[in-house]
């Protein structure tokens, strides 16, 4: 009986190939979504998928784009740059796909960029914050704002002005995002006279930060800047608390999520970050997105989810104006003016990224509370 | 008669176990030399020491004019010492002929570059190895099985193939470890005949064997070991008369 395993596997393969290549209905407009659905970044990829699908369903409920239904083609990039490049190749080859949303990490976006650029298809990344990404091509767009903007804000307004501290240590995750966040923050700190007492790297998946924190504490900084995603950041604040170290805690917007509160509990109290998406934003479109997201994902959306939603809406807006031609979509996207998303007003710079303005947010009594409005 | 292989005060200890203890012996060129002793007497360990498979704890080993103590096995082989193994160590997933071909390793020179370029050196080597390999197989009556995998051979064939493989090394001295173990009388006779034939051609043979008929019948000289210690060395007749040997074999 065992012998039939392989054969059935082969048969399945053949069937799936046919299913995949089978033609689809003519009256849809296809958008590719490249996201890490499995692997270390799976939860972020999952956020992408929920948000983009919510947006697509909205658009379709309102009659689609130019009368056509939006169809999302999801591909799993596993968080690997070379896989993201293969997906890019698949997307550009499929003539029915008019633009792409993704990927999550900057390295994946950068690896896929040459292929999208060569084949003249928009790659709109919701989360790539590396300053080089949007610059890497005409067809590359990033909407989360770059670290070149967020770093100075965190150093100048959060650390110096809001928290009123003069020295800070940086703990950062050793990946493309973390290093870029650290470097931009450190550069900005030097400019505004914020002393950086030390930088310490860790690798994704690390659970024990006591050694790093002991190192950092040596120099007695007044604050700790935690350049990490919420899961590691919550570990860091937990362990700061366990050391009974009374220090100001600040972090980039990546920590803003419900999960952070759950995982850090009381030790997260007083952590300051920035954001351009707030759950208490009274705007109807924001609240209805939050409600819909909660219903599907059973949790509140975070910043990553919000920008993914806006990415789809932005593309829909551009396609509505430009039609279904890939190059025309690129031009329309670049010309976007005053687009009102759930993450505020979006307009692209000449290179294709967005200059964000930020709110200051702090964890108070176990909740994210906006302390200062956009500036 | 000149000495070809000998040892001086040879010892091998495994922790507290004295597997071979202060053994002196010498093999003369051209003879058939038997090593006997009860199980665990240290016969195979002695072979492993002589061929460099195991390092010695103390003592010296000489081959012809030079010392070979603790030389690695491949160097020992290059000097002209070949062996077979008690528990048959063929290259099981290789064909019979290929097994023999490896024996010619030391007599050929092909390196990786020659192989890649498929130059004359490779062709000459391959031709030589192929022809001589076939000759050796013919000698042990296995020509018809040249393309069988070694693992599929019968027990007797495996033993014979091991001897053929060892002969490919073109040894001056051949160490065979229980070549007739597990064979029927007819097969045993064949092996004895083969070894005697080889000896006539000038190869010195050292043999470990449990079958006393075989040993007593063919050996010029015999070394008796017991618990790692040498009991006696001499002709079959001398050994058989030695009271210590009788005691070791028959008990008190």
């Amino acid at each position: 009986m065992r012998k039939s395993y392989l054969l059935s596997l082969l048969v399945l393969t053949v069937i799936f190939t046919f299913v995949l290549s089978a033609g689809a209905a003519e009256d849809t407009v296809k958008i590719g979504l490249s996201a890490p659905i499995t692997g270390n970044y799976a939860e972020f990829g999952e956020n992408f998928q929920y948000s983009v699908e919510i947006a697509a369903d909205r658009i379709n409920a309102n009659g689609g784009i130019r009368g056509r239904e939006v169809e999302i083609i999801v591909r799993n990039s596993e968080g690997k740059p070379n896989v993201a490049a293969s997906i890019a190749q698949e997307f550009v080859q499929n003539k029915e796909i008019v633009a792409e949303i993704g990927d999550f990490t900057s390295t994946s976006c950068l690896a896929a960029a040459p292929i999208y650029e060569r084949n003249q298809m928009v790659q709109l990344s919701p989360t790539s914050s590396h300053p080089d990404f949007a610059r890497s091509g005409e067809f590359m767009f990033g909407i989360v704002g770059t670290q070149a903007a967020e770093g100075p804000f965190n150093a100048e307004y959060i650390a110096k002005e809001y928290l009123g501290i003069d020295s800070v240590a940086v703990i950062y995750i050793n990946n493309d995002w973390g290093v870029s966040t650290m470097e931009n923050f450190v550069a900005a700190a030097e400019k505004v006279g914020l002393e950086v007492t030390g930088t310490e790297a860790f690798f994704g998946g690390e659970t024990d930060f006591s050694a790093i924190l002991t190192n950092v504490k040596q120099n007695n900084p007044e604050g700790v800047y935690i350049a990490a995603m919420y899961n590691e950041a919550s570990q860091v604040v937990n362990q700061i608390d366990r050391m009974e170290w009374d220090v100001a805690k600040l972090a980039p917007s990546s920590v803003f999520s419900e999960q952070f509160l759950k995982l850090s509990g009381e030790s997260g109290e007083g952590l300051v970050t920035n954001t351009f998406f707030a759950l208490e934003d009274p705007k109807e479109k924001v609240q209805s997105f939050i409600a819909e997201f909660r219903e599907r994902a059973d949790r509140n959306p975070n910043l990553h989810a919000a920008v993914a939603y806006d990415s789809m809406m932005l593309l829909a807006d551009a396609i509505e104006r430009a039609g279904f031609d890939r190059v025309a979509i690129r031009d329309a996207l670049a010309e976007t003016e005053n687009f009102e998303g759930v993450t505020g007003t979006i307009e692209f710079t000449d290179v294709g990224d967005v200059v964000r303005s930020y709110m200051i947010m702090e964890v108070k009594d176990g909740d994210w509370v906006v302390q200062e409005d956009y500036r | 008669m000149t000495k070809i292989l000998s040892s001086e005060n040879l010892c091998k200890y495994f922790g507290g176990v004295r597997a071979v203890d202060q053994v002196d012996f010498s093999v003369d060129k051209g003879e058939i030399f038997g090593i006997i002793g009860p199980n665990g007497a240290g016969k195979t360990t002695l072979f492993n020491l002589l061929t460099g498979t195991l390092g010695v704890t103390k003592g010296k080993i000489y081959f012809k004019d030079g010392e070979i103590t603790n030389l690695p096995p491949q160097k020992v082989t290059r000097l002209g010492i070949a062996r077979t193994f008690q528990n048959i160590k063929l290259f099981e997933e290789m064909e019979v002929l290929e097994n023999v071909k490896i024996g010619f390793h030391t007599q050929t020179k092909t390196n990786m570059l020659d192989a890649v370029l498929k130059n004359n050196k490779l062709k000459e080597d391959e031709e030589k190895v192929h022809l001589e390999g076939l000759k050796l197989l013919e000698r042990v009556n296995m020509l018809d099985k040249k393309n069988n995998l070694a693992k599929n051979l019968s027990y007797g064939d495996k033993r014979r193939l091991e001897i053929a493989r060892a002969l490919a090394v073109k040894p001056e001295i051949l160490l065979v470890d229980e070549p007739a173990a597990g064979m029927n009388p007819h097969e045993t006779d064949e092996v004895v005949e083969l070894l005697e034939q080889l000896n006539k051609e000038g190869i010195t043979v050292v043999i470990i064997e449990h079958d006393m008929k075989v040993i007593m019948g063919m050996c010029d000289e015999i070394l008796v070991l017991n618990n790692g210690v040498k009991l006696a060395q001499g002709t079959a007749a001398e050994v058989q008369k030695n009271p210590e040997v009788i005691e070791a074999y028959l008990g008190k």
Partner: protein, 327 residues
């Protein structure tokens, strides 16, 4: 039963090897002219690349029986060497690929000298450690490797003034590399050197008794295999135009290993089939998004259960590669 047909096909292929090899080469040569879908070509390039990599691992694992489970390290070293050299010096890509292979080979020499004396599984542990050390060093040594950012902008290879930038160009590039690799390996395996390698796999002690300097041959074997891993890495750097440490995680090593075992160890054809199956399968299942890796894991388990000796029925390993004691 249907499965028997599959068996028969395999036997038939084994019988008429030359014919089928010839046929396969013809098909592979025509492929890029017939297939217009760039995605399919892209996957075809990746497939040939993985076949090269799994074949290079097979040289080490399959022919000499050294458990190298850190093969990805040499792939990474090759890729990074190519990326670093080609972005700093204006060298022809053929030279860069060769240098990358040699650098990978050199690292394997450094690893092999102290560790190849270790028996079977212990050598495996050290290769695993080496793979992690390599990846982490790439991430840490920012001045040389740009750390987690990876190295973008690997120049487009050129030959005789022609820019090799399309999938078809890369297809022929990897095809030639793979062809060379297989031809060279075939010749070596059927020579004195290859026999020595295989004899080490079969029984190291007996091999030494035949006069084979087993340590030297193990080193040579490791260096030869890792040379091709380095070449594969360099090709990857050119093909992707971008290298980053995320591509060289331990999972990739296990993937090579799975390819060799799934196809069948110690045969030239095994890793070719294994490499192809395990490269194409995940692509086919990519649209299953979050179920993709589940299917991938199950597929490996099923194939190993169905055919422990590999799809093409290569030899099986002895349970113990260690030397048996005989006292």
């Amino acid at each position: 039963m249907a499965a028997n047909i599959f068996e028969k096909i395999i036997t038939n292929i084994n019988k008429n090897k030359l014919k089928y090899i010839f046929l396969l080469i013809i098909v592979l040569l025509i492929l890029p002219f017939v297939v217009e879908n760039q995605y399919v070509l892209h996957i075809a390039v990746l497939t040939l690349m993985y076949v090269l990599l799994s074949s290079s691992l097979n040289v080490i694992v399959g022919y000499t029986g050294q458990y190298n489970i850190g093969h990805v390290a040499f792939y990474a070293i090759g890729a990074y060497t190519a990326a670093i050299i080609s972005t700093r010096f204006n060298l022809n890509f053929i030279i860069v690929i060769l240098i990358s292979g040699f650098v990978a080979s050199l690292f394997s020499l450094m690893l092999g000298i102290p560790t190849l004396r270790l028996r079977g599984i212990f050598f495996a542990f050290t290769t695993l450690g080496f793979a992690e050390i390599t990846r982490l060093t790439i991430l840490n040594w920012r001045s040389l490797t740009r750390g987690p950012f990876g190295i973008p902008g690997v120049p487009i290879p050129q030959i005789f003034g022609m820019r090799l930038s399309t999938n078809t160009h890369f297809y022929f590039m990897i095809f030639i590399l793979l062809f060379l690799m297989l031809l060279m390996t075939y010749r070596i395996i059927n020579s004195r050197v290859g026999r020595a390698w295989i004899s080490i796999r079969e029984d190291e002690q007996a091999s030494a008794s035949m006069g084979v300097d087993t340590f030297k041959y193990k080193i040579m074997n490791l260096m030869y295999g890792t040379f091709w891993a380095g070449v594969g890495g360099a090709f990857f750097a050119y093909f992707a135009g971008y290298v980053s440490a995320d591509s060289f995680i331990l999972d990739e090593s296990f993937r090579f290993f799975a390819m060799v075992l799934v196809g069948g160890t110690g045969t030239l054809a095994g890793p070719i089939l294994g490499g192809a199956v395990l490269t194409i399968l995940p692509q086919v299942f990519r649209s299953f998004a979050r179920y993709q890796m589940i299917i991938y894991g199950v597929a490996i388990l099923l194939i190993i259960h169905y055919k422990p000796e590999g799809l093409l029925g290569g030899r099986t390993f002895k349970r113990d590669l260690s030397e048996s004691e005989d006292n």
